[in-house]
Amino acid sequence: MVVIRGGYTGKILKVDLTDGRIEKEELGSEVQSYLGGRGLNIRKLFSLVDRDTDPLSPENPLLFSAGPLAGTLFPGGARFNVSAKSPHTGILGDANAGGFFGPELKFAGYDQLIISGRSEQPVYLLINDARVEIRPADHLWGRDVWETNKALQEELGDNRMQVACIGPAAENGVTFAGIFANLVRTAARTGMGTVMGAKNLKAVVVRGRGCINIHDRERFQKLLAQIDEKIYNHSDYQNRAMMGTTKLISALNKFGCLATRHFLAGDFADADAVSGEQLAATLKVKSKACFACTIPCSRFFRIPSGPYAGLASEGPEFEGLAGFSSRVGCNDLGFALQGVDDCNRLGMDVITASECISFVMECYEKGLLSRDELDGLEPRWGDQQVVRELLRKITFREGIGDLLARGVRHAARELGRGTEKLAMHIKGLEVFQADPRGLKGYALGFALASRGGDHLRSEPSFEFSNNPEEGMRRYGAEESAFRLEYKGKGRLVKHYEEWSALSDCLSACKNTIVNMEIIDFEEGAALLESLSGVAFTGEGVQQACERVLNLERAFIVREGIRRSDDTLPERFLKEPLPGEHPSKGSVVELEAMLDDYYKARGWDLSTGIPTRETLSRLGLDDVTRDLLAAGIPVVQ
């Protein structure tokens, strides 16, 4: 029996919206095997759903988890993870956000919240420490994210209430709707907001007045002091405090890897006008940070003049900023911020939304979509009014918007006429604003990500290091340190996937843990031990991350995913990246990297299914049995 003395709250809250039943359960030994956050979610989700579960049915549970670092003084220990079967992709749904909601859930006394069933009427869930209520939300239905947040804080008379809510996009069944906390902190990907909408659940509101204990305070503070030192002396510290992820506009543009006009180019001539540097120099009012973070990478901005005068908000991240600038061919910073703000209020994922729009723009340019089919719109690159109108149409599922409301895979299947080749998705999830042709490790990570086309499952930034000795040491190949090389990328991506899982399981920021390389598995184990009093080793923690990755793989294998799905949109494989820049002419040669990766993982090379031996080594024999029972060939 594992005794948890801190870090974790040790409790799981279960709410059934169909019958209103509310239960609490103890958390136990699974913390050693799955750590928390994303890991704890996949463990539960794997057994709660199967291949036949309809993502929009009451049978699909919605799981919120805040891992052991959430709510502590660890810089960036601010996150929460939401998981369910995805209505957008049909496979694993999983999203993650920062802000203040995750810590508040912990202060209320819960590591995990499992919501099942479906309410007859719109409701919101109020978690006030131990008091948990399901309350009517008819008065909130139809309101946007910002209105909902404001109404709830006013109604409850406490703006320390943390609200995670959905907007109209989710209510209307747009399959890529997110869950929004602190107005803009979004668990955005794979339609977790859509699942919430299908449950008639408008918001989860949390207020926690309790504490999170520490088992060994002295040890924790000693570790924290070392972490602080690393952060403050990090070469990129000031850059991150100034710009956060928005720095990637100019950084990627320099390499020719900035998604420009729907990946027709990798360099955007007007990148400087919409860059993180420009935002910091002009519209930024001050830095903003997530809970207890010492790297204030977000910002509050205000637009003083021009067509978007008066717009003020926290944000954006690189994904939104590039999504509504280079990706749609627009060079107006104010507009890019407005596009992100529209998505935030309507409640949509900026990555998928900007892909839908840029997809339509390319289809229109190539004559694959006519003006009539576009409700009279003429979506030319950079047309601000058209972009905003399309966002509105998607949200309310009008005309062309209805076609796009299930993402580009669905839209292209419906349209046919060769548009499938232009749909920039992997396993149904749209790829973000970096062109993988000039980033071979990222390309492999995209192809493999367990939630579909996604960068946050691995982000192997080591390939920018140009440090061959370290590449040899870490991944057995000097080439692994160079973004345009292939050798060693299988091991590189495996390592970064596990590192990213560490961050998602602990519910701390990936920018801190992985990108800045602030803690590894050993240090993670030490932190966990100091907080919880439960024994952890570096090796054990890495293996837990490996277990999470394999269980997620088994989940999507059960849904039918195989090696042939671990691929990229055809453009990245066949069309040399145009332009005059350091990635000119690149395509991605994926197959040899995939072989390396499967070998490193212990997965079957022909199918991409984890072998029996691998699953057994990770203590997942029950998963093998489950897959075999479903008729899936799990080989020795």
Partner: protein, 158 residues
């Protein structure tokens, strides 16, 4: 002339709203992560980007002390911070008397949460990397976190 007390200096215009100060305060005083028991509290209006750390002002006339019926609130001779003594009956008079609302009392048997300036080394200040919270000690020296995050390019030019 009144004695120069130590005090926390707040610049709410640059506060990031991260609430590190609350967590650090609770760790220093309660030995765990417990923002609810923090002596510092960040009030936020997210839609407007407003973040206001509200801290004890270490008032010269200390209305909290004057209101205490058991006279158990006393000045720390080192920092001048008002400390809660053993005779506190949790009546809440100090909280009612505080003109800034920085003294909080949670529950009938709780002692008031009063900032003791951590004996002259405020834990909150140590974690405020943008220096929205600074400490000026009795000798007039200003103490900040060990690092300063430069958050606006125009600051760089200074």
């Amino acid at each position: 002339m009144t004695k120069q007390y130590g005090m926390l200096i707040v610049d709410r215009d640059i506060c990031t709203g991260c609430r590190s100060c609350e967590v650090a305060c609770s760790l220093a005083h309660e030995g765990c992560f417990w923002p609810e028991k923090s002596r510092v509290r960040v009030y936020k209006i997210e839609a407007d980007g407003l973040d206001s750390p509200v801290v004890c002002r270490q008032c010269d006339d200390a209305p909290c002390m004057a209101a205490c019926p058991t006279e158990t609130l006393l000045r720390d001779p080192g920092t001048g911070a008002v400390l809660v003594g053993d005779d506190c009956v949790s009546c809440g008079a100090c909280a009612d008397a505080c003109p800034y609302g920085t003294v909080r009392l949670d529950g009938e048997r709780e002692k008031p949460l009063l900032c003791d300036l951590c004996g002259g080394e405020p834990a909150c200040v140590q974690r405020c990397v943008v220096h929205a919270l600074k400490y000026r000690n009795g000798a007039g020296q200003v103490v900040t976190a060990p690092v300063q995050a430069i958050t606006l390019p125009r600051e760089k030019l200074k």
